[in-house]
Symmetry: C2
Subunit: 191 residues, 2 copies
Amino acid sequence: MYEPLFDYIRRYGKEALTNEEETIIESAFEFKKLRKRQYFLEEGKVCTHTGFVLKGALRQFSVDDTGAEHILQLVIENWWVVDRESFHNQTPSKYFIEAWEDVELLVFHRTRLDEILKIPVINAMFWHMSQNNHIASQKRVEDTITLSAVKRYENFQQHYPEIVQRFPQHQIASYLGIARETLSRARKPIR
Amino acid sequence: MYEPLFDYIRRYGKEALTNEEETIIESAFEFKKLRKRQYFLEEGKVCTHTGFVLKGALRQFSVDDTGAEHILQLVIENWWVVDRESFHNQTPSKYFIEAWEDVELLVFHRTRLDEILKIPVINAMFWHMSQNNHIASQKRVEDTITLSAVKRYENFQQHYPEIVQRFPQHQIASYLGIARETLSRARKPIR
DNA sequence: CGTTGGCTTGAGAGGGCTCAAGGCCAGTGG
DNA sequence: CCACTGGCCTTGAGCCCTCTCAAGCCAACG
């Protein structure tokens, strides 16, 4: 069960994990299931856990005054799920994180963070992830201020084909910040 | 000269810096001046240094096929300046980073990174910064897909009044992803 | 006092939005 | 086995926000 996580960690460090380290990880991460439509996190609550997705798909979104949802993150297998702001600052979250399919996760509680960060490979991994996350969201910003709606979709589709197939179009549209109708029309010439 | 940097670092850690640590920092960071319009980094070059801004202001921007500039980052005193992607991956940068005013920096070369990360307070600092950066760019993404041009400006002005005062309007407009004329009109009722 | 950079204003065009309706498909219950 | 329902995607019409193109103004500066 922990293999996908170990594989993921190994990708970031050169050295293998020792048995001891694997034991620490196994004790820090617990297995968790969510049924479709169940929440991993609800608005107003503090995000206490970070999860590694073994199976399934989730979405993170906010709800504005008019009740409209805005999708900030779409997550599938081998990605991490967390509201970084709430987790890091221990403040109430402004977002919902919802299982879009039945989900299986390995989660660790915030109190275990220091413990697992002591493992060098994990430390390096979180360091790289943090950099990469930041680079990725900067790219996303650049795309939104630079590209037209259609281009943004093509771009996204090219970089994350699995995501596009996994979620309904209107969720993708929300993620890209465009109306579902616009996305539908944009896809017309492609079909 | 190193005081502003030491102050900055102290804000992130509970413990003070030891003399030994201060010595390491002083040897790792070198003082650098840039005159207005000089580049800290040019497109196509690898970003080898990270800088802490003691004085002045800089802007990071990309240039598209049509020659138009798109501003990604505006930076002033007590901020860090770097193209994270190029610095982290050692790949050619897609951006320019230009001194918008005469600038004084403390910079360290990438090769010194491991060395300074061994200092616990610095390690904690970079960790926090990395989280905060990521949170901030996520917020920026949310704003761009959620808010109208005008709202985005008001929002930005509220959060970063110093930046708004320091740079000309058309640079702010580019940063927000809107046309200068639109920003000008948006400001009309405010004046 | 001409040049340069920045800001404003106007007019017209267009990309994307909203509102509204219709079609398709899968799941569900009679 | 069929009708019904809900979720999703598509299409059309009209509108509005924002962009583009163009011109003019003002202040700073050499």
